[in-house]
């Protein structure tokens, strides 16, 4: 009975909220805008009498895509964005009936270069930065591979220290600004753009394109490191590397000014003031996009937009400038535009702006009445059903007991089964009735829902009650229903796979329409670009994934298996009772913790004690770092399950071996382990699956550089890292650079499928029957 009771309670708890109206503003998008949005949301919630808006990150592209998924309560109200909306987003919006959007520019974000506080200061220009990073640089009028290894080689005025720059990965919106305002400018200033154009062939336009592409081509010898994580990761990398310069947002730098020394660009130090004046060259506008149609739907939405744009928040000296947002001089105009209800020109098919919601005085008091929640009737109907079920159970049982006591006939089933059968014959039709009511459309009063539930329920119950007789095979009938339920539960696994497959295949299909499958599966270069022309070959990612997993298993399998053997065969009961759960704690520690552990502790340790003294690497993120830490994480997956499995090997086999004069270790190696092998293969399989699918550790420990190398002390990247980084980046959602995540997901899914089938075959081959 227990599972059924639990399920009923769960349903009763879950359903009531299902259809309740939303009263919180939903915001998502750029992680650069995120801190500003949370600060405003917090202040808004405290002062304006509305609930605090819910703010998510996830990247500009993902935010804009969610915004454009449709209109109504289930969709986003505001998308934060660190770049202007793209035509593909607008198209998506229109396709989904979102015909009006307001573009709100909230201010500017400065991009700064900073090194460790303890090191020397840098006076940079775009040209110097480009010369440090470019793959090819002009030398004596010709183009040559960039060999500069120290800043002083680029410019005598710069410190004599090795070049290492941590720049935003290609998923970041700030990378686009970095490309445009630093690399392209620097390339032109160095006179290289002309050389690149001259080297290219084709029309003038083609030449210019080729030159731009060549300008953005960065060296791949480890001097330039893409950071796919956030600024906190860049800071940790800079803190661990005395020579490195990192790229940060102004507000992040200002909050960590005690750790970082900022570089001047063109002789100007970045501050809120110099950026607002336009003296500091590297900055970008920040936006959010809001659906005016939601102003009447979500209480406080309009109020929030205007509050955000008020001088006390986004103006000079306001709440946000205190946190590093550079105020927009045109803030008042933006505010007026919102007040006037001016919407973005969305091209053909968009509604003319005149029909957009008038700036009506929608005071919070005048908010539209909250629609009657559909949850209540469901809850009442479920309660009625539960009562009916309980009554049916008791009645059926009692009647069966009475008939049994009165008659002399031999009963097929005990009364409890008759009770259960009556319960089922009442509850099943009742639940069907409720479903039908929900399918027709959950309208109307609770009475309707209850009658839709109770009428078939009562009829079924009465029928079941009347059927009670000594001959009725109640147990068989109940068991048949239970068996159907069991089969249904085991089918959930199939449905899950179908769901995964469908959701991956559909989007991967979109990807392969935009990008040739042959290049994806056979190219050995992974180099996504912001403006198209990316190389998205999967091999470097696959290689990184397997290399890291291999090292992880190299650590986890011996340690885990030996621990399991010791625990099962040697340890005293007391030791075992404490050690086993202690090791299992390792499995429950969130992977994010291992990631930090890899980044801060293990990575620098390996670099300083192994990689650098041996001259085989200088990066603290490496395959070895991630593999080792992941190995630690995976130990309990091997040890716990192996231990259970070793324990399940019959004691008689151990006795048999010991009785022949074998030592305990001979018994383990030659008798217990072969007997437990299938199970152990299963345990190692679980460990391998964890390692291959692990994300957080590799993000922070393995790095983001996609390359094919054998050196375990080099930074590499994995499939999972790229799924997250491409899916939560600032690129447009409908671009191959984002959609590739689904193709990667599909590949990963198919690879694990292949591995598992293989493992299952092995397991079956070795399986021993003790029955």
């Amino acid at each position: 009975m227990t599972p059924r009771c639990l399920a009923l309670i769960a349903a009763a708890l879950l359903l009531p909220g299902a259809a309740s109206a939303r009263d919180q503003i939903q915001i998502a998008g750029s992680s650069t805008v995120l801190p500003y949005a949370t600060i405003v949301a917090e202040a808004f919630g405290e002062n304006r009498g509305f609930p605090t808006p819910v703010v998510e990150g996830g990247g500009s592209g993902a935010g804009r895509k969610k915004l454009c998924e449709g209109q109504g309560e289930a969709t986003l109200d505001i998308a934060n964005s660190s770049s202007p909306i793209k035509p593909s987003d607008i198209e998506l919006c229109r396709a989904n009936g979102v015909t009006a959007l307001m573009e709100v520019r909230i201010g500017y974000d400065g991009i700064v270069f900073a090194s460790r506080r303890e090191g020397p200061g840098f006076a940079l220009t775009p040209e110097l930065i480009w010369r440090a990073l470019a793959a090819r640089v002009p030398q004596d009028g010709a183009l040559a591979a960039n060999r500069a290894s120290r800043w002083s080689e680029i410019d005598a005025g710069l410190p004599d220290q090795p070049i290492t720059l941590f720049i935003p990965g290609t998923k970041h919106g700030s990378r686009e600004v970095f490309d445009q305002k630093v690399l392209e400018v620097g390339c032109a200033a160095a006179g290289a753009e002309a050389l690149f154009a001259a080297a290219a062939t084709g029309s003038e336009e083609d030449k210019a394109k080729a030159a731009t592409k060549a300008c953005l081509e960065l060296r791949t010898d480890g001097r330039s490191v893409d950071i796919d994580g956030d600024y906190a990761e860049t800071l940790a990398r800079v803190a661990a590397n005395p020579d490195a310069i990192g790229v940060f947002g102004l507000s992040f730098y200002e909050n960590n000014a005690d750790k970082l020394r900022v570089a001047t660009v063109e002789g100007v130090e970045p501050t809120v003031e110099t950026i607002a004046k336009g003296a500091y060259p590297v900055s970008r506008p920040l936006y959010f996009y809001v659906k005016p149609a939601h102003f009447d739907l979500v209480p406080g939405l309009r109020d929030y937009v205007l509050y955000f744009l008020s001088d006390e928040i986004a103006g000079p000296g306001g709440l946000l400038s205190g946190y590093g947002l550079v105020p927009d001089p045109a803030l008042a105009e933006t505010r007026a535009a919102v007040d006037a209800g001016r919407v973005l020109d969305m091209g053909e098919g968009a509604e003319p702006s005149a029909t957009t919601p008038a700036p009506a005085a929608s005071a919070p008091e005048a908010a539209p009445p909250v629609t009657e929640a559909g949850g209540r009737p469901i809850l009442i109907a479920l309660l009625a059903l539960a009562v009916l079920g309980a009554a049916a159970l008791v009645a059926g049982r009692q009647r069966a007991a009475q008939v049994r006591a009165a008659g002399t006939a031999i009963f097929h089933s005990v009364p409890a089964y008759h009770g259960a059968l009556v319960l089922l014959s009442a509850v099943l039709p009742g639940a069907l009735g409720l479903l039908a009511w929900g399918g027709v459309g959950p309208g109307g009063s609770p009475a309707l829902a209850v009658s839709a539930t109770l009428l078939p329920g009562l009829a079924g119950g009465a029928y079941g009650y009347a059927r009670i007789s000594p001959d009725l095979r109640a147990r068989t009938a109940v068991e048949r229903v239970v068996m159907a339920a069991l089969i249904g539960c085991s089918l959930i696994a199939v449905l899950t796979t179908a769901g995964i497959f469908a959701s991956l295949v559909v989007e991967a299909g979109h990807f392969f329409k935009l990008y040739p499958a042959a290049d994806f599966f056979f190219s050995t270069t992974w180099n996504p670009q912001f403006r198209g022309g990316s190389s998205l070959g999967i091999w470097p990612l696959i290689w990184g994934t397997f290399y890291v997993s291999f090292i992880a298993l190299l650590v986890a399998v011996p340690v885990g298996l030996m621990s399991a053997i010791y625990l099962a065969e040697y340890a005293s009961k007391r030791t075992r009772a404490w050690v086993k759960p202690a090791i299992e704690i390792l499995a429950g520690i969130p992977t994010i913790v291992y990631g930090l552990f890899a980044l801060i502790t293990v990575g620098p340790l390996l670099r300083d004690w192994f990689a650098q003294p041996l001259g085989i690497g200088s990066s603290s993120s490496s395959v070895m770092t991630a593999g080792l830490v992941m190995g630690i994480m995976v130990i309990p997956f091997v040890s716990s399950l192996s231990d259970d499995i070793i324990n399940a090997v019959p004691q008689s086999l151990r006795d048999g071996s010991l009785g022949l004069g074998a030592t305990p270790s001979e018994t383990v190696r030659q008798v217990v382990l072969p007997a437990a092998l299938p199970g152990i293969v299963g345990a190692v399989l679980l460990a391998a699956s964890r390692a291959i699918g692990e994300t957080m550790i590799v993000v922070m420990g393995a790095g983001a550089a996609a390359k094919l190398s054998l050196n375990p002390f080099e930074a590499m990247t994995t499939v999972t890292v790229k799924i997250v980084s491409q899916l939560t980046g600032d690129t447009e959602f409908a671009s191959p650079e984002t959609l590739v995540a689904f193709a990667l997901g599909l590949t990963l899914f198919l690879v694990t499928l292949g591995l598992n089938v293989l493992a299952l075959v092995i397991v079956r081959k070795y399986r021993e029957q003790y029955e």
Partner: protein, 255 residues
Amino acid sequence: MDIETVKIKADKVQVFYGENHAIKDVDVNILDKTVTAFIGPSGCGKSTFLRCLNRMNDTIPSCRVEGRITLDDEDIYDPRVDPVQLRAKVGMVFQKPNPFPKSIYDNVAYGPRIHGLTRSKAELDEVVEKSLRRAALWNEVKDRLQAPGTGLSGGQQQRLCIARAVATEPEVLLMDEPCSALDPIATAQVEELIDELRTNFSVVIVTHSMQQAARVSQKTAFFHLGNLVEYGETTQIFTNPRDPRTESYITGRIG
């Protein structure tokens, strides 16, 4: 064949499981090249005592043995004795057939391999064949030595376990109710086998079945509640028991 050589001598043996006094003051002399049967009702301690003889009780942490047991006049509980060496000399066959999850060949070769009894593959083949012949199994399995041992029938499995035990050339073979999981035909085969084994080994068999004890053994010991009640020639025990408890048991009044 000279008779009446004492192979194992037990002197005031006590066994405790934690607080439980399982074996009390047992004195017994087990003769070489003889089948000795231990009989008695369930829980009388006969299996426990058997397991003392090759120190299998060592694997149970709470078990404690006192008194003196000697094999060829050497104390097997002496700290200098390695139980591993002891068990090579005193082999054991268990109640339930427990072939290892290996091939028939590897099952039999297991003991010789771990003890390093053979020098070449040919020699090992010979040992395996000899052992399987001694266990009267050779003709049934000679064509499928690489098949898994677990695939045999129950009686064959038990004979495989016996072959496995004799392959190490033990001096004593302990058998803990070896036929209790077998059908009558298999039981008859194993009993016949035990009788043959007597020519080479000293066999100690624990059995539940008095008929079996009468059939296969020359000496019989009757255990009751942890005490060795009576020990003597099998014929004498079954025809003319001295102790009233023995008489009650063999006439079926207790048990």
